[in-house]
């Protein structure tokens, strides 16, 4: 199975760490060496968040070198631009179609990004776009957005869907499990068309 570097970025509170944890457990269940590295602490308070997952027969560095991510998963659109330097030439992008204005913009301290659509289109012409929040809201639980993204992400990784589902069962407790499995399936369906 091929080696892969996945960077997951977004905003504190979006469920990035849970999604990356499920990805890492899936890779481990598939028998690969895996490293999942995340930065939290002050980032919990609405700041920019990053988690990186690497899997292969043998993984050394927990950090993905700039320009070496095979896949960039962005839970938010401004963050997709902020972390552009992580992606390798020819790498894939999974983009959650959601704007969250930083407080610096919403409070008027800094200008927003007027040409965000154009900049994203120029940087990521082949991006796989998922309506994570809308799909999760339609399913009745906006908080399951991260599992919708996990579902979309699963179509870009070499793992069987059953292995993904085992990892989700391992990680998510009883009463929330069914909702999250439905969100995961909806995310898969959304990007497979």
């Amino acid at each position: 199975m091929s080696a892969m570097n996945v960077s997951l970025v977004g905003v504190g509170g979006q469920g990035i760490l849970l999604t990356s944890d499920i990805l890492a457990r899936t890779a481990a269940r598939a028998g690969l060496d895996v490293k999942k590295s995340e930065i939290h602490g002050m980032a919990q308070r609405g700041g920019s968040v990053i988690s990186q997952v690497r899997f292969a027969e043998r993984v050394y560095s927990p950090i993905i070198q700039d320009g070496a991510s095979d896949l960039l998963v962005s839970f938010e659109r401004i963050e997709a631009l902020r972390w552009r330097h992580l992606l390798r030439a020819g790498g894939k992008v999974l983009l959650n179609n959601l704007n969250l204005a930083p407080v610096t913009v919403s409070s008027g301290q800094q200008p927003g990004v007027d040409d965000l659509d154009a900049r994203l289109a120029a940087e990521y012409p082949g991006a796989c776009v998922v309506e994570g929040l809308r799909i999760a809201t339609d399913l009745g639980n906006a908080r399951a957005m991260n599992l919708v993204i996990a579902g979309a992400l699963s179509t870009l990784t070499p793992f069987e869907v059953s292995v993904w589902e085992e990892a989700i069962r391992e990680r998510i407790p009883g009463k929330m499990l069914e909702t999250n499995l439905r969100a995961f399936a909806a995310g898969r369906d959304a990007v497979r068309g």
Binding site: A28, G47, E79, A89
Partner: protein, 591 residues
């Protein structure tokens, strides 16, 4: 047979402590070390564990357990080790009875810290043995070994993690025999020559510490945690900790001396390795801890211009080093797209009970000495209501010192409840004893917030969730002799302004407790939702001064110079502050 689990190094510490038969664990939370004790609590059936009020007490509790003859663990972030140094420096003389393992988690790159100290220097200073794991498996193995070393050599043993190892999950084989181990305690035997280091007893300890260092040096030359990996001997690389992983990534073909046990320096091992390679290169994160000692052995080390001795190591920096030394790699092509993007700094949560205090202190024009916690965020615009932050508890001494230096104008110290219990008690006692007039504002949200909501002496619960007496800060202040002790509701701006103005201007010292539970920890983030009547909103901007992430810019007014406000119903927690800032009655409760 094996049992494999995906664990962060912090989790691996807890699993290893369980397997090693650790009996007592005590620590104060601090990023990146916090999850260690949270995970030890999962093994509470066999390990007594607790949140200590600070790292010094945590160290003292662990030392006490060690003296009583059982295996004990304490853990802290790098700056926490500074707090714990006093008991440590003497216990390394006295020597451990039951195994004592100290975990210190450094924060290269200062992801969540105020400085970047390399704790290895302090471990050397304390003459203690030091393990530096490179991943979770090594953490699991080294913690168990550290208990053995601590008992064999009668000395507290250190395991140094970093943010990267603490917060990276890797596959760990915990063994098919994983489970709690019962270790026979060594028991306590009264021995004042050992445990009471008055000068006449301390001098022999000093000599013993010297002998022990040489014994540990020999151990370091034989341990499996220091190993040579074969490769091209035109360049030999000495490395330690997580940096090993980056070396294997960027210099895969060269011989490596991987050091997992770095203090005392395994000098003979390094000399042998140096003699077997053409050029010797030392690669380590933060200070040149190994490199300076290796040079002092008289060995020649490759010199280079690539800066590696500050901020977090990563493969890219080593690629730059390889380019400089060997010229056979190119830096990867990196495309950036972040030009002109707005920053996304962390902010006080919507509904945070600290917000009203900072809003009011800004309004009063006060100089504010601050402290370590979520509330440090009160320093940033638009609140901009903090002037200094030095270390845990420093705000009180700092404010008092500024007062004694003749500072003009309103002045106060602001400190959170957990920080107050950690290091603020002695600060206010100093104020009252020396006749100061400093006002200390305690932001009492009944939780240790920034590190992820840990219990503390004010929260009424222990680490394991058992009920505990909730210490009343007002009573503590009165008992120390404060006559002016005022408790004020944290969401009442008029009351805050009246109380803070009065106390800051008063000629006597005072303690103000501005309390309300943390909205997140107490699950109060959805109490109510407020909305804005766009007709009534005059775009005056008063509510924006709260810096609430739920209050966002709406339609432009006054030719685009000002903006009406909109409240994000998803983020609004109904704290009621914004209503109080609106003179036009434009904000109201909608749910």
């Amino acid at each position: 047979m094996s049992k494999k689990v995906l664990l962060s190094a912090n989790e691996a510490v807890a699993w290893a402590a369980c397997k090693a038969g650790c009996s007592v664990a005590s620590a104060y939370p601090g990023t990146p070390s916090t999850e260690i004790l949270e995970n030890v609590a999962k093994f509470k059936e066999t390990i007594y564990c607790e949140w200590a009020v600070n790292e010094k007490v945590g160290m003292e509790v662990a030392i006490g357990a060690s003296i009583a003859g059982v295996r004990a663990l304490t853990a802290m972030k790098h700056v926490g080790l500074n707090v714990a140094m006093d008991p440590l420096m003497t216990y390394t003389y006295v020597g451990a009875n039951g195994g004592l393992v100290v975990v210190t988690a450094d924060d290269p790159g200062m992801h969540s810290s105020q400085n970047e100290q390399d704790s290895r220097n302090l471990v050397r200073f304390a003459r203690a043995p030091l393990f530096e794991p490179a991943d979770s498996q090594e953490t699991f193995d080294m913690i168990q070994e550290a208990f053995e070393v601590s008992e064999t050599y009668r000395v507290p043993a250190f395991v140094r993690l970093t943010t990267r190892t603490s917060h990276t999950s890797t596959v760990v084989d915990v063994g098919d025999d994983f489970g709690p181990r019962q270790v026979e305690g060594k028991g306590y035997v009264k021995d004042i020559r050992r445990y009471i280091p008055v000068p006449m007893f301390a001098r022999p300890h000093r000599l013993q510490a010297q002998e022990r260092t040489e014994q540990l040096r020999a151990y370091g030359c034989g341990t499996r945690f220091n190993r040579e990996e074969p490769g091209d001997r035109r360049l030999g690389i000495v490395t330690s900790g997580v940096t090993y992983q980056y070396v294997k990534e960027v210099f895969p073909e060269f011989a490596v001396l991987k050091l997992g046990f770095t203090n005392p320096l395994p000098a003979e091992l390094i000399k042998r390795f140096a003699a077997s390679v053409e050029r010797l290169l030392v690669i380590e994160e933060l200070d040149p801890f190994l490199e300076e000692q290796i040079r002092a052995l008289g060995l020649k080390v490759v010199e280079h211009k690539t800066e590696l001795n500050m901020l977090e190591m990563n493969p890219l920096r080593l690629t730059a080093l390889r380019q400089e030394l060997l010229g056979d790699v190119a830096l990867p092509e990196v495309r950036r797209a972040d030009a002109g993007l707005p920053t996304r700094p962390p902010v006080l949560c919507a509904g945070c009970s600290h917000r009203g205090v900072f809003y009011t202190l800004a309004k009063l024009g006060a100089t504010v000495t601050g402290d370590i916690g979520c509330y440090t965020l009160g320093a940033f615009p638009p609140l901009s209501a903090m002037d200094t932050t030095i270390c845990m508890g420093a705000c009180i001494g700092n404010a008092y010192g500024m007062e004694k230096a003749g500072h003009k104008g309103r002045l106060c110290a602001v400190i959170g409840d957990s920080t107050f219990f950690h290091s603020g008690l002695t600060g206010i006692l100093n104020v009252i004893y020396n006749g100061g007039r400093t006002t200390t504002v305690v932001l009492d949200n009944r939780i240790t917030g920034m590190t992820g909501h840990q219990e503390n002496p004010g929260s009424g619960k222990t680490l394991c969730g058992d009920p505990a007496p909730a210490t009343d800060i007002a009573e503590v202040a009165r008992a120390m002799g404060f006559k002016r002790v005022v408790t004020v509701p944290a969401y009442d701006l008029a009351a805050l302004e009246q109380v803070l103005a009065e106390e800051l201007d008063a000629p006597e010292p005072s303690v103000v407790i501005a309390g309300a539970p943390c909205r997140i920890a107490a699950k109060l983030w959805n109490l109510a939702t407020y909305g804005v009547d766009a007709e009534k909103c005059k775009a005056c901007g008063a509510c924006f001064k709260l810096g609430c992430p739920a209050i966002t810019r709406g339609e432009a007014a006054a030719g685009g110079k000002r903006f009406k406000c909109v409240i994000d119903p998803v983020q609004c927690s109904g704290c009621n502050l914004c209503i109080q800032t609106c003179k036009f009655g434009a904000i109201s409760k909608i749910r």
